[in-house]
Amino acid sequence: MTIARTGKEAPDFEATAYIQGKGFQNVKLSDYKGQWVVLCFYPGDFTFV
């Protein structure tokens, strides 16, 4: 398993997502190659900060 490291290639993934106006879609990180991406993890929906 490739682990994410700053300065190294981002590990790719594919997962299901909710996209407003489009509904449920699969998202693959490498589909965004060629543009800047911010990948933002957070502990959970309905949390407070």
Partner: protein
Amino acid sequence: MAAVAARYDQFKALGVEVLSVSTDSRFVHKIWQEEELSKMVEGGVPFPMVSDGGGRIGTVYGVYDEAAGVDIRGRFIIDPDFVIRATEVLTPEVGRNPDELIRQIKAFQHNRATGEVMPSGWLPGEKTLKPGPALVGKVWKEWKP
């Protein structure tokens, strides 16, 4: 999440796509959007809300807490060559500063466009440094902390 959504026009202007990721299912993402986020931010969260069931993605990115079963607050700036340029990881109690995120993106984009490097605390428009043999031992002439 809402704070990033509220500044989404700034991310768009910089050509940045945002992907948010939590261990919640896509169904929960939808209800959170409809019931809460859309009331916090006009139009709601406009970017894909990825479901990381079981923390599979978070594990690879070093942010999955197995004991709590959640992804903690990790954010990664990925450049167009698919290289991770910056990482920030916080435990859940404290939220992030999206303005600092935008500052870092602008600095990396400036570096990519010009080859110049940005000293500590750099803001767009401020002095940059041009790395090279002439600068060795002479940074003090160009920049003070």
